[in-house]
């Protein structure tokens, strides 16, 4: 059995936190640049130009693209034939602590959501999800998530009879209510099925899929395309100033659910759609 030290995990998480916050993934850049070339509305063109200039500056100056360097969402897919020596969750938190400190990223986590909103000062704890996969590798994904967009997300327990139209309506309602708040152009993750909590996690996972990569099931791929068109027909535009580019992409993830339900979660991300993956 392959053995891996937790220190290795900390080092990688630290590096991925820094990389994700300072360098926008290629898929996101490509999509923003394509959107810029199809945009005709002057203020929308100008806004997208500034967004592009900003991520280029962040890259060359090694600076965080956005000041909200987020909560660190960390996904570990651990090979069944791999043994991690030590406490994995503590190792991930140590990685977050090191990365946020080293790169002067903003620490944005408070200890208690209601009564003791005191900053933990090291951006821990990470929002950690682990699952097991075949093999002896470990896949680490870090996705720092800002709260301007997180706050605009929503979940609805649809009825099975609501069907495709119910899903479309809820996504459009959520985007409409969000308006200019989540820093459009946005990326929309939709989670369908499971339970209340699973739908939310699926929506978050949908945000990790490379932009431009459609769902492997043609029916869901068609729905993603339709949703993107409908969202971009709203006219909200970059930053809500008006224009074509309200969303860069819509991705759906789904799983089996109960005979009586159709959970539908919509997780919104901003144009600084950070995600980075490394396999060890």
């Amino acid at each position: 059995m392959r053995i891996i030290e937790t220190q290795k995990i900390s080092e990688i998480v630290s590096r991925l936190c820094i990389e994700a916050n300072c360098r926008l993934p290629k898929d996101v850049k490509t999509c923003i640049e394509q959107s810029r070339s199809s945009e005709k509305w002057p203020i929308a063109c100008d806004t997208l130009d500034k967004i592009i200039e900003n991520y280029k500056l962040a890259d060359s100056d090694n600076m965080p693209i956005c000041q909200d360097t987020g909560v660190a969402c960390v996904f570990l897919e651990i090979g069944e034939d791999l043994h991690v020596k030590g406490n994995i969750a503590a190792a991930v938190d140590e990685g977050v602590r090191m990365g946020y400190q080293e790169a002067f990223l903003r620490k944005s986590v408070v200890k208690d959501p209601l009564f003791d909103r005191k900053n933990t000062r090291d951006n821990t704890p990470a929002m950690l999800y682990t699952e097991y996969i075949p093999g002896d590798k470990i896949i680490i994904t870090v996705a720092p998530k800002g709260f301007g967009s997180e706050n605009m997300s929503g979940i609805k327990m649809l009825r099975p009879s609501d069907g495709v139209d119910g899903v479309i309506n809820f996504v459009l309602e959520t985007v409409e209510a969000a308006g200019s708040n989540p820093c459009p152009p946005i990326v929309i993750g939709v989670g369908l099925g499971g339970t209340f909590d699973k739908a939310a996690l699926l929506a978050k996972k949908a945000l990790l899929r490379p932009i431009g990569q459609a769902h492997s099931d043609a029916r869901y791929a068609a729905l993603e395309y339709k949703l993107l068109e409908k969202v971009n027909d709203l006219g909200i535009g970059p930053q809500g100033f008006g224009g074509l580019t309200t969303a860069l992409s819509v991705a759906i993830e789904h799983m089996p659910t109960h005979i009586a339900g159709l959970p539908c979660a919509v997780n919104i991300n901003c144009h600084v759609a950070r995600h980075i993956t490394e396999v060890i």
């Binding site: 962040a58 944005s108 308006g179 200019s180 006219g235």
Partner: protein, 193 residues
């Protein structure tokens, strides 16, 4: 329309600004997020002085990343303004003339803005480096215990913002979208040429 404005932001300047105008601000602005706003209101209640002169001032809703050694400030884009909506009307009554943030405002804020002849500007959310490059000096002046939420005095040069809500209450988030949708047909025609 494009304006280059030297701060402070007097009423003579604000009344010339229209919703949708692109503005480049030069001069002094102050940072404050919700935690600092809460303390401003407490100071007012106690009859104490605010940490900066509020008359004709501009507040930037921002919590920057920490500055690296040798830097003036870290990445410094706007935060969501609606969290400040409960506090803003009282500051507008005291002479606050401009706010920079992103996202929607409440009716109470818009009403107080019309009264005060104030402007609500948006900076581009997520453009933290571009905006930080327009900040030339940064000095903490109050509530340093709040960390990234402390009040800072910033000197900015040609700081790019868009006027969202003007002194008449006209709102770009409404008219911008409407006007785009109304012009959609002619935009599509252009595309086919």
């Amino acid at each position: 329309m494009e304006h280059h404005i030297q701060l402070p932001l007097t009423r003579e300047k604000t009344v010339k600004i229209k919703s949708g105008d692109t503005i480049y601000l030069t001069g002094v602005i102050y940072t404050a997020r919700d935690a600092a706003h809460k303390r401003f209101i407490e100071l007012i209640r106690e009859g104490k002085k605010l940490p900066f002169p509020i008359e004709d001032a501009v507040i930037y809703y921002v919590g920057p990343t920490p500055a690296k050694p040798g830097q003036v400030i870290g990445s410094a884009g706007p935060t969501t303004s609606s969290r400040m909506d409960v506090y803003a009307p009282e500051l507008l009554q005291l002479g606050l003339r401009g706010m920079i943030g992103k996202g929607k405002r409440s009716k109470e804020v818009v009403d107080a803005m019309k009264e005060a002849k104030a402007i609500y500007f948006a900076a581009i959310g997520g453009a933290g480096v571009l905006l930080a490059n327009c900040i030339k000096t940064c000095e903490a002046i109050a509530f340093e215990d709040l960390g990234p939420e402390a009040v800072h005095k910033l000197t900015v040069e040609e700081f790019p913002v868009v006027a969202i809500i003007d002194t008449t209450g006209e709102n770009l988030y409404e008219i911008g979208r409407k006007s785009y949708l109304e012009n959609l047909e002619s935009l599509c025609d252009q595309q086919h040429i």
